[in-house]
């Protein structure tokens, strides 16, 4: 952004300021069950500003559920989450449908929408809006939520489309694009809200192999520009190269975490060793 004052910038208004020295996201004893199936069994971790955290682990281990709990696409069964120092999930006060007993449904929804607009999410299956052009996909949320001017939204969108290498696709519809292009547009769409953290849910798993690289390189560029990122992925090379910290998640618990060199070269946990051994064979 240019050097505008924070107040006049619609992208930055009404955002809580993170207390200095406090992590951007704090998760404490997070549990999530689907019926009798316990998927998360007490996750505690923090995500610092500017950090790239890569979550790895076997399928069904709770990686995606963990990510989806962060922006409350799934409502945690119990536990606490702070985002920017603000408590967005407080233990034990959630009803079955996620309603905080201390707040009216309407007030809670308003808060929720604000948190989510600050957390960009990229999905495995892109989830672009097929009835909108690429440009409309990218400008829709800033226009609808931040109430920026059409010109500002357009300028921002074109800047982002250039950043992901697709400025000439603004007028195209999603189904005219390849998977890799769709995922890059999805990243641009999330970035248009100027989120403080980007969540990636297996962003390359649905792609043909030759398209994985173009998406990863966009993500690397984001990381290089100090975007805070939480990435669930099976791309071990990406994890090794880009991550500041690796979380190994299995059976609903974080079994091991640390710097990539440590995790990949000298994993302490037997399950981590086992998993990495299997992945390397592939």
């Amino acid at each position: 952004m240019t050097t505008q004052s924070q107040k006049s910038d619609p992208f930055l208004s009404d955002r809580p300021v993170v207390e200095p020295g406090r992590p951007l996201i704090e998760v404490e004893d997070l549990h999530k069950s689907f019926g009798s199936l316990q998927v998360l069994k007490g996750i505690t971790t923090t995500i610092n500003k500017g950090e790239v955290v890569v979550v790895i682990g076997p399928s069904g281990g709770g990686k995606s559920t963990f990510l989806r709990c962060l922006n409350l696409l799934e409502t945690p069964t119990s536990g606490r989450i702070w985002f920017g120092g603000e408590e967005i999930v407080s233990g034990g006060s959630l009803q079955r449908d996620g309603t905080d007993l201390n707040l009216s449904h309407r007030a809670r929804e308003r808060n929720l929408n604000r948190y989510r607009s600050d957390m960009g999410m990229v999905f495995q299956r892109f989830n672009l809006f097929p009835h909108m052009t690429v440009l409309e996909n990218v400008t829709m949320a800033p226009l609808a939520i931040r109430h920026v001017s059409r010109q500002a939204a357009y300028d921002k969108a074109m800047e982002l489309l250039s950043r992901v290498g697709l400025p000439d696709k603004a007028a195209a519809y999603p189904q005219q694009l390849s998977g890799g292009q769709m995922q890059r547009i999805a990243i641009a769409r999330a970035l248009a809200m100027e989120p403080r953290v980007m969540l990636f849910d297996e962003p390359t798993s649905a792609l043909d192999p030759e398209m994985v690289g173009e998406v990863l390189s966009v993500m690397k560029e984001l990381a290089a520009n100090h975007m805070t990122m939480v990435v669930v992925t099976h791309e071990m090379n990406f994890a090794r190269e880009v991550a500041d910290r690796i979380l190994f998640l299995e059976g609903g618990n974080i079994l091991e975490q640390g710097a990539p060199e440590k995790i990949f070269n000298s994993p302490q946990n037997a399950r981590t060793r086992d998993f990495l051994g299997k992945v390397k064979k592939d």
Partner: protein
């Protein structure tokens, strides 16, 4: 058929045609009736669409989130009753019981047909909403849109597009159904034919003419709908 017999038959038909449509300005029964039919059908379509959207959103919001329990029960009752009873009976109940104070037959017909159509439109739209991948709403919510915004901007436009043929069919049924409005004495297109028959004792010409007009209306509408579908296909999925 000999030429003489043909010309006698032709003369008869011309005379009948004159009797049915020209004499005493009887064509006015047809044109006035057509106007009333279109008025009732168009207004009822709008009312039905409005009711249908509201009911569909209530139903699908409830099924997905368990909220709006009372409204959902009401919506289900409404849909069950409307779909479970004949349109003619509903019209008679509307005219003689529910709106018995109302003397405006056109208005009663609009309300009866609109309320009826709403139940069918609701189920069509609901099917459309269910057909949209859950990831679409998730993507909208992840950007910070509210549930309502996600519905209005992302889910409903796609849902309506998917069920456009079924909606078109419902509108065609509604247009033809308005012909039973003669049960409450509304002078619509079908009744226009009926009045001419009772005055002239000619059945063929007035009823065939009425049928032809309905047919042309439906064909015109189908054509418009096909065009709209093609247009939507060109602009996106």
């Amino acid at each position: 058929m000999s030429l003489a017999r043909f010309s006698a038959w032709w003369n008869d038909q011309s005379e009948n045609f004159y009797l049915c449509f020209v004499k005493n300005d009887r064509w006015r029964y047809i044109t006035d009736g057509l106007g009333r039919t279109l008025e009732v059908a168009l207004a009822a379509v709008l009312l039905g669409a409005l009711l249908g959207f509201i009911l569909a959103i209530i139903r699908s919001t409830h099924d997905k989130h368990g909220r709006l329990k009372f409204l959902n029960a009401l919506a289900r009752l409404y849909i069950t009753v409307i779909r479970g009873t004949p349109m003619t009976v509903q019209l008679l109940i509307a005219y003689f019981i529910v709106f018995s104070e109302l003397n405006d037959k056109v208005l009663v017909a609009i309300l009866a047909f609109g309320v009826n159509s709403g139940a069918y439109v609701a189920e069509i739209i609901r099917a459309g909403i269910v057909s949209i991948d859950a990831g679409q709403m998730e993507a909208a919510r992840s950007l910070g849109l509210s549930y309502t915004q996600g519905m209005a901007r992302v889910v409903l436009p796609q849902a309506v597009r998917n069920v456009l043929p079924a909606l078109g069919n419902e509108f065609i049924v509604l247009l033809k159904d308005t012909s039973i409005a003669s049960f409450i004495g509304l002078d619509d297109l079908a009744r226009g034919g009926s009045i001419i028959r009772s005055q002239t004792y000619q059945a063929y010409i007035p009823f065939l003419a009425v049928a032809a007009i309905y047919l042309v209306l439906v064909m015109l509408f189908s054509k418009l709908l096909t065009r709209l579908e093609r247009h939507l296909q060109r602009t996106g999925a």
